[in-house]
């Protein structure tokens, strides 16, 4: 066991993958010599060399397209895109090729690659550096989309993503990279993809979230316990596939569901979770499902960003509403 933050836990997973599987290569902008803009790949270039930790030209479509070809031909590429806002040039590769090759070749070819992308706001970054457009990727058939919120999950889920026979978009909450430390096993272990987890028990309301919104949801849950409300917090961890069984079981248990995301509201993950609850737990509900989300706006710049990204106030208000309904 070593105490690691989320960025270090990812580094540890990459280190193990590079050490244990000669097919693994890392590909991205500034990931080598300088260790990545968030230092997530720190030291790996020095340990494994430039043929396996590859500094790429500034070309996201090229990086993902090349990784796609490599994956088909037997390499296990792990791509880093610098920020989610810079993944869009690669979107055509992801939607038109990465997510489709298994289907269009009837299993003859597959693309087992991992695309790591830092995402999310709340740190007052420059424009395009705070995007939370995960729903676009979750909406894209043929790829898996996962989001860890703890160092332990980050390492185990990344190793599971690397072992997965299908392409995985692995989103890393920027705000949590260095927020907390946790004991993380030094050896390889897998946290299965597609499985949600309960991070706080409660009986009155189920709060569903992922990424940095898990921390905000826990804050709200603690504060609300002072008001006598018992709030359960569920970390979805996987957006595609979504753990419907866990969502339905929780909604049936408490009868009240609030979904928290920092992404825009329309056609977002909160809508998807609400739809699942409606389809399979409607008759257990004591209140309408609430969505606490970013607005249908671009993420405002630093001075007014806090009006956009949900936190204690807005989550608590939604929980009180479902309690009063």
């Amino acid at each position: 066991m070593t105490e690691l933050n989320l960025a270090q836990a990812i580094n540890s997973a990459l280190d193990l993958a590079l050490a244990n599987d000669q097919r693994v290569v890392l590909l991205g902008e500034d990931i080598g010599v300088t260790g990545g803009v968030f230092r997530v790949t720190d030291g790996l270039y020095q340990r494994y060399g430039g043929d396996r930790v590859i500094d790429a030209p500034v070309a996201e479509s090229g990086i993902v397209g090349a990784a796609f070809g490599m994956a088909i031909a037997g390499i296990r590429p792990i791509v880093e895109i610098q920020f989610l806002g810079f993944a869009y040039p690669a979107y055509d590769q992801i939607v038109s090729h990465v997510g489709r090759i298994r289907n269009r070749s009837n299993h003859r070819f597959s693309a087992p690659l991992v695309i790591r992308i830092p995402y999310g706001g709340g740190i007052g970054a420059a424009e395009h550096h705070s995007e939370s457009s995960e729903a676009i990727f979750a909406h894209t058939p043929g790829i898996k989309v996962v989001v860890p919120s703890t160092p332990y999950d980050a390492k185990g889920m990344l190793l599971a993503a690397i072992a997965d026979p299908d392409p995985v978009v692995f989103l890393e909450p920027i705000r949590l990279y260095r927020a907390v430390k946790q004991d993380v096993p030094d050896d390889e272990y897998l946290v299965p993809l597609g499985v949600a987890t309960t991070v706080r028990e409660g009986t009155d309301v189920s709060l569903f979230s992922y990424g940095s919104m898990v921390r905000e949801s826990r804050r709200a849950a603690e504060a609300l316990s002072g008001e006598g409300v018992s709030v359960e917090v569920i970390d979805l961890r996987s957006l595609a596939p979504l753990d419907e069984e866990a969502i339905v079981a929780a909604a049936r248990r408490t009868g009240r569901a609030v979904v928290v995301t920092e992404s825009p509201r329309t056609a977002g993950m909160a809508s998807e979770v609400a739809a699942v609850v409606q389809e399979r737990a409607l008759y257990s509900l004591l209140a309408p499902v609430e969505r606490v989300t970013g607005w249908d706006t671009v993420v405002p710049l630093k001075r007014t960003e806090h009006h956009h990204v949900p936190g204690l106030k807005r989550i608590s208000a939604a929980v009180r509403r479902v309690m009063e309904a």
Partner: protein, 346 residues
């Protein structure tokens, strides 16, 4: 290939100067003012008054010299590192500062200034310059458009599409690539196997010009030629200006991880402002009192801009719903009401 150079590092002139002594003094003043802005921004970032800042120190001649060759109604689309160019084309320092403070009003230059807000996504804006200039010629105007971008941006697929469109449609576009040696940590050699970026121009059927980007006079000269061709309807030009980013990539970057102090020192000796000062001294256009005074008033102008930017109150919470569409949609109205009801978060 040798870059075009008119001013040697020691300030001696090769050939005729492209501008007279008065204009040289005006452009020298502009470069000094731009550098004052740059060092003020670095200081303010450390104090927490600005978000991340990308310094352009060392690139003043490339930016001021190229803009000096434009007409003041020409279009400019540039990057996060091109504040000097944007300002010289009419953008206000106060707006540039507001943007860096994290306020959307920073993206709005005065009405008569044809400069788009800085492009932060690398590479996407070069094709916009193609469209802007193309629109001008479709409407019978002789305005042209110039795109400023870095060496790293030439690796993006959008670079190819921009260059190709400009060539095919012979648009009035000037592609000004400031090759400042690095794209974050990656040296220029890691962006392309071509010896020079100008080599790329031939593939798109346009002239490519290699120029000493730290030479104010050469920058004016080559940009003037490119602008002249564009305005005359003779199509686009690609310029590779050899320069250097003296500072880190941004205030969050640690440049010591990927480049040596010696390299930085070597480029400091080719400083674009020093070179013009030496020229002015040789030509009898400089004295110490003059520079002291202009440096003082440059700092004063920047301080005024800082005061103006910092006295702008943050937007009301609901303002984020007013900027998305010409008229807020019903969704905006509902969400504004929800924000009012629950409050924003801390």
């Amino acid at each position: 290939m040798e870059p075009i150079r008119l001013l040697e590092v020691d300030g001696t002139l090769r050939g005729d100067p492209p501008v007279d002594l008065d204009e040289t003094r005006r452009l020298f003043t502009a470069m000094v003012t731009a550098r004052a802005y740059d060092s003020k921004c670095n200081a303010m970032q450390v104090q927490g008054r600005l978000a991340t800042y990308a310094s352009f120190e060392g690139q003043e001649a490339a930016q001021i010299g190229s803009i000096a060759a434009l007409r003041n109604d020409d279009w400019v689309v540039a990057t996060y590192r091109d504040a000097a160019a944007m300002w010289f084309q009419g953008y206000l320092w106060a707006n540039l500062l507001l943007g860096r403070m994290g306020d959307e009003r920073g993206g709005a230059p005065p009405e008569d200034v044809n400069v788009l807000p800085p492009s932060i996504t690398v590479g996407a804006h070069m094709i916009h310059a193609v469209g802007l200039g193309w629109a001008e010629s479709l409407q019978g105007s002789d305005r042209i458009a110039m795109a400023l971008f870095g060496d790293g941006a030439t690796s993006e697929g959008d670079f190819h599409e921009a260059m190709n469109f400009a060539g095919v449609f012979s648009t009035p576009t000037v592609f000004l690539c400031q090759n400042n040696g690095f794209a974050i940590s990656m040296p220029r050699q890691r962006q392309t196997a071509a010896e020079w970026l100008t080599n790329k121009a031939i593939g798109y059927g346009m002239p490519g010009v290699l120029v000493d980007g730290n030479d104010l006079f050469a920058m004016i000269g080559v940009t003037r030629d490119a602008v002249g061709r564009a305005r005359a309807g003779d199509g686009p030009t690609f310029i590779e200006a050899l320069t250097f980013r003296v500072g880190p990539h941004t205030t969050t970057d640690d440049a010591a991880r990927y480049r040596s102090d010696d390299l930085v020192e070597e480029w400091r000796r080719r400083d674009p402002i020093d070179r013009v000062r030496l020229y002015l001294q040789r030509s009898g256009g400089w004295d110490e009192a003059w520079e002291t005074e202009l440096a003082e008033s440059a700092r004063g102008a920047i301080e005024e801009a800082v005061t103006a930017a910092e006295s702008v109150d943050p937007f009301e919470p609901g303002a984020i719903f007013d900027r998305m569409y010409s008229t807020p949609t019903s969704a905006m109205d509902r969400q504004r009401a929800a924000l009012r009801r629950d409050g924003g978060d801390d």
